[in-house]
C-alpha cells in the first residue's frame, strides 16, 4: 500500500474496511445462499449491520477530532500514464457518516424483521437492504471521486430496487423509474464535474484536491474557474440526490416502497449522500456558488413546507418535511454553517427515521382495520385516522418526541441543530443588504410552517376521535403498538432524539461536541445578540402556531384556511411542479424521440430508400435501352439479312429446267448486249 498522507493506522483501516464489507457479505450470503422466504436472512443482515455499527463506533472514536486524516490507497488500474488509485479517506466528516449510517440502519433492520415478516420476498428485501447500506457506507469512505460516483450510483440503484420492491404495483415501478431517472440527471452533472476536475488536475484523488491547505483547491494563485464549474456540477448532483428544487419530485413518489425503506432513504442513506457530497467537496465552492446553494436550500425548504401543509397522505407529509429539512441543510451549507448542516443531518436522521417507523406502525394498523371492516379507504390518509393516542401509547410517545424534535422545541436534538442554522443564517445576511435577509427570514418562516404541519399531523392522527366512525358508527377501532421488534428500535431512536446525545447543555447549540470536529468557525462564539434572540423568538412564535393548529383541527373553531382557495389548491397540488414535468418535459422528450424516429424512418432511411429507388430506376432505364436500343439495332440488321435471304430464296426452286431457262436467258441477254451495244 502506498501512503499519501502521513498518518495511517492499519487497525483502523482494517476496521473501516470491515464496516463497509460486513453488509456486503450479508448481501452476498442472502443473495446466493438463503432461500426466498427464509427468516434467517433478516437476522444475517441485522447482525452484519450491528457489527458494522460497533466497529464503526470504534473507528469513530479513534479518528474523530484527531489532527490527521487517515488516507490509504492502492493502485486500481493504470490508464495511459495515469494510475487510478482506490483508497480510503477517513476524516471527521466520513467517520461521522460512517457511524450515523449503521446507527440509523440498525433500528430499521430490526424493525424490518417484524414489518416484512409476511412478505413473500422476505430474503430479497434484506438482500437489497444490505446492499443499500453497503453502497452508502462505501460512498462515505471512498477517497476517489470516480469510486465515490460509482457508489453514489449504486446507492441510487439500491433505492431503485427498494422503491420498486413491490414491483407488481404500477405506482411503485413508476416511482422507482422516476427516482432513478431524476437522480440520473444529477448523476450526470456530478460525473461531468468529476471529469472536468480530472481533465484539469489529472487526478480523481479527493485528498489531493480538497484536503488540507496544500490541496489543489486551496492552492494560491491558481485559476479557480476550473474549480467553480465542477463545483456547480457537484451541486446539481447533490440537488438531485438530496431532493432539492427543481429535482425534488422523486422523493414523495418514493413512498411507494416499504415504509421501513422510506425511513432509511429519508434518514441516513440516499438523501444524506447529497449533503455529504457538498461537505466532501466544500472547498470547490466559491462565494457565489454558496449563495446559490443557500437560495436553493431556502426556497426548497419553504416550498416543501407549504406543500406539506395540505397533504393528506401520512408518508407524503413526512416526505415533504424531509425535503424541507434537507433544504435547511443546504441553506446551512450555503451560508457557511458547514458544521451546523452536518449537525442537522445527524439529528434529522434520527427523528425522521423514527417518524417513518411510527408511520409504518400506524399504517400497518390502519391496513388491518381496513381489511377487518372492509372499508374503502386509503390506509395512509390521515383524514381517516384520529384518536390513536390511547390505543397506541408507545407509538404516540415516541412519535411525539420525534415531532417535537422536528419542530425544534427545546430539550430535543432538533432544537440544537435548527437554531444553529437559523442563527448563522441571520449572521450571514447581516451587512449584505436587504435582499440577502430574505434567506434567514424565509428559514424562520419555514420553521413556523413546520411547526404547523407537524402539529396538524399529530392532532389528526393521535388526537380527537377516530374518523372511521363517520363511515360506520359501529366500528370500534382497535390498534396496537406492535411487538417488541417494533417498539425497541423506536425507543432507541426516540432516545437519540433528545439533547443529551449531542450536547449536555440543552439550550446552547454552540456546545455540541459535534462542532469541534469541523472547520473552526467564528460563528461558534456567542458574540452577538442573535444567539439569544433567535431561539427565543422562534420558540415563542412556535407556541401560538401549534395552538392555531390545535384550534383548527381539534376544536375546529378556527377557520383560517379555505379548503377551496387558490393557495390551498396550489399547495395541495404540490405547486404543480410534478404535473409540469409530466406534461411538458416528459412530453417534450417523448416528442423529440418520436421526431427523431420519424426522421430516421423517413428522412435518413427515406434518403437511402430514394437512393435505392434511383438505382432501381436507372436499372430499369438501362434495361429498356438494352432491350429497345442496343438489341433493336441488332434486330434491324438481322432483319435486313433475313429479308434478303428470303428474297433470294425464292429463286432456288430446285427445278433444273428453270435454272436452264435462266441460264439461257442470261446468255442470250449477254450475247445481245455484246453484239448490239
Amino acid at each position: 500500500m502506498e501512503t499519501a498522507l502521513s498518518y495511517t493506522d492499519p487497525l483502523i483501516i482494517q476496521l473501516a474496511i470491515a464496516v463497509v464489507l460486513l453488509p456486503f457479505a450479508a448481501f452476498l450470503i442472502n443473495f446466493l445462499l438463503i432461500s426466498k422466504t427464509s427468516k434467517v436472512s433478516g437476522w444475517i443482515s441485522s447482525l452484519a449491520i450491528l457489527l458494522s455499527f460497533i466497529l464503526s463506533a470504534i473507528v469513530f472514536f479513534k479518528v474523530w477530532d484527531k489532527p490527521h486524516d487517515i488516507h490509504v490507497q492502492q493502485v486500481w488500474f493504470a490508464i495511459g500514464n495515469v494510475k487510478v488509485q482506490i483508497g480510503l479517506w477517513l476524516n471527521n466528516l466520513s467517520v461521522l457518516m460512517l457511524l450515523l449510517v449503521p446507527a440509523v440502519a440498525l433500528p430499521v433492520h430490526i424493525y424490518s424483521i417484524a414489518y416484512m415478516a409476511g412478505d413473500a420476498k422476505y430474503t430479497r428485501y434484506f438482500t437489497y437492504l444490505s446492499f443499500f447500506c453497503f453502497a452508502m457506507l462505501a460512498l462515505v469512505v471512498m477517497d476517489n471521486m470516480l469510486l465515490m460516483y460509482a457508489f453514489w450510483e449504486l446507492v441510487g440503484f439500491a433505492s431503485y430496487l427498494l422503491i420498486g420492491f413491490w414491483f407488481t404495483r404500477d405506482k411503485a415501478v413508476q416511482a422507482n423509474k422516476k427516482a432513478f431517472i431524476m437522480n440520473r440527471i444529477g448523476d450526470i452533472a456530478l460525473l461531468v464535474g468529476i471529469l472536468m476536475l480530472y481533465a484539469h488536475y489529472h487526478t480523481f484523488d479527493m485528498v489531493k484536491l480538497f484536503a488540507g491547505d496544500n490541496a489543489l483547491a486551496n492552492a494560491q494563485g491558481v485559476d479557480k474557474a476550473w474549480l467553480t464549474i465542477p463545483g456547480i456540477c457537484f451541486l446539481c448532483g447533490a440537488i438531485a440526490k438530496s431532493a432539492q428544487f427543481p429535482l425534488h419530485t422523486w422523493l414523495p413518489d418514493a413512498m411507494e416502497g416499504p415504509t421501513s425503506v422510506s425511513a432509511l432513504i429519508h434518514a441516513a442513506t440516499m438523501v444524506a449522500a447529497g449533503i455529504f457530497l457538498l461537505g466532501r467537496v466544500y472547498p470547490a465552492f466559491n462565494a457565489d456558488v454558496l449563495t446559490v446553494i443557500a437560495v436553493i436550500g431556502c426556497f426548497t425548504a419553504f416550498m416543501a413546507a407549504t406543500i406539506a401543509l395540505t397533504q393528506n397522505d401520512l408518508k407524503r407529509i413526512l416526505a415533504y418535511s424531509t425535503i424541507s429539512q434537507l433544504g435547511f441543510m443546504m441553506l446551512a451549507m450555503g451560508v457557511g454553517a458547514y458544521s451546523s448542516a452536518l449537525f442537522h443531518l445527524a439529528t434529522h436522521a434520527f427523528f425522521k427515521c423514527l417518524l417513518f417507523l411510527s408511520a409504518g406502525v400506524i399504517i400497518h394498523e390502519m391496513q388491518h382495520l381496513k381489511q377487518k371492516h372492509q372499508l374503502n379507504i386509503d390506509p395512509q390518509n390521515i383524514l381517516y385516522m384520529g384518536g390513536l393516542r390511547k390505543l397506541m401509547p408507545v407509538t404516540f410517545i415516541t412519535c411525539s418526541i420525534a415531532a417535537l424534535a422536528l419542530i425544534g422545541l427545546p430539550l430535543t436534538s432538533g432544537y440544537l441543530s435548527k437554531d444553529g442554522i437559523l442563527i448563522q443564517a441571520f449572521e450571514w445576511a447581516e451587512g449584505k443588504g436587504w435582499l440577502y435577509s430574505i434567506i434567514p427570514i424565509g428559514a424562520m418562516l419555514t420553521s413556523l410552517l413546520t411547526a404547523f404541519y407537524v402539529a396538524r399531523l399529530m392532532f389528526k392522527v393521535f388526537f380527537g376521535e377516530s374518523r372511521l366512525k363517520e363511515f360506520n358508527p359501529d366500528i370500534v377501532p382497535e390498534a396496537h403498538d406492535g411487538s417488541l421488534l417494533y417498539q425497541i428500535p423506536m425507543m432507541m431512536l426516540a432516545a437519540c432524539c433528545l439533547f443529551p446525545l449531542f450536547s449536555f447543555n440543552p439550550f446552547f447549540y454552540e456546545q455540541a461536541w459535534l462542532f469541534k470536529g469541523f472547520i473552526a468557525s467564528s460563528y461558534l462564539e456567542r458574540m452577538n445578540l442573535y444567539h439569544t434572540v433567535v431561539p427565543v423568538a422562534v420558540n415563542l412564535l412556535i407556541v401560538p402556531v401549534i395552538y392555531l393548529a390545535y384550534a383548527t383541527y381539534i376544536k375546529r373553531d378556527a377557520h383560517w384556511f379555505k379548503q377551496q382557495g387558490v393557495l390551498f389548491r396550489f399547495s395541495y397540488n404540490q405547486w404543480y411542479i410534478d404535473s409540469f414535468y409530466n406534461k411538458v418535459i416528459v412530453k417534450l422528450v417523448l416528442l423529440l424521440s418520436n421526431l427523431t424516429y420519424w426522421l430516421d424512418k423517413n428522412v435518413i432511411d427515406g434518403l437511402i430508400g430514394i437512393l435505392a429507388n434511383i438505382g432501381i430506376l436507372l436499372g430499369k432505364i438501362a434495361a429498356w435501352v438494352d432491350e429497345y436500343v442496343i438489341d433493336g439495332i441488332l434486330h434491324v440488321i438481322t432483319g435486313i439479312v433475313k429479308q434478303g435471304g428470303n428474297f433470294v430464296r425464292g429463286f432456288q426452286t430446285g427445278r433444273v429446267q428453270g435454272y436452264l431457262v435462266t441460264m439461257l436467258l442470261v446468255i442470250l441477254v449477254l450475247y445481245v448486249l455484246k453484239t448490239f451495244i
Binding site: R649, Q652, T653, G654, R655, V656, Q657, L660, V661, L664
Partner: protein, 101 residues
C-alpha cells in the same frame, strides 16, 4: 451443193429442238432424249467443221469420242433414272424434291 451453212442450220435446229425438249418435258427420259439431240447437234457441228482439217481429221475424231462419251453418259443417266424411279415411283424431275430447302 450442201454447204457448211446448211449443216449449221440443221445443227442449230437440232439444238433448238433439244433445248425445247429439255425445258418443256416432264419426263426424265424425254429430257434425256433432248440432251442427246443437243449433243448430236454439237457433234454435227464438229463433223461439219472437220472439212478445214483434212490432214488430221480432228473433227471426225472428236465426234467419235463425243458419240462414245454420250452413249456412256446416257447409260449412266438411264441407270440414275431407273434408281430415281425406284425411289420415287416417278421420273418427273420436278417431283423429285427431297433436297429442296
Amino acid at each position: 451443193m450442201i454447204t457448211l451453212t446448211d449443216f449449221l442450220f440443221i445443227s442449230a435446229g437440232l439444238f433448238c429442238t433439244g433445248i425445247f425438249i429439255v425445258l418443256s418435258k416432264r419426263n426424265a427420259i424425254q429430257i434425256l432424249i433432248g440432251i442427246e439431240l443437243i449433243i448430236n447437234a454439237a457433234i454435227l457441228n464438229l463433223v461439219a467443221f472437220g472439212k478445214y482439217d483434212k490432214l488430221n481429221n480432228a473433227g471426225q475424231s472428236f465426234a467419235l469420242f463425243a458419240i462414245v462419251l454420250a452413249a456412256a453418259a446416257v447409260s449412266v443417266a438411264l441407270a440414275i433414272i431407273l434408281n430415281v424411279y425406284r425411289q420415287y415411283k416417278t421420273i418427273d424431275p420436278n417431283k423429285v424434291e427431297r433436297l429442296k430447302g
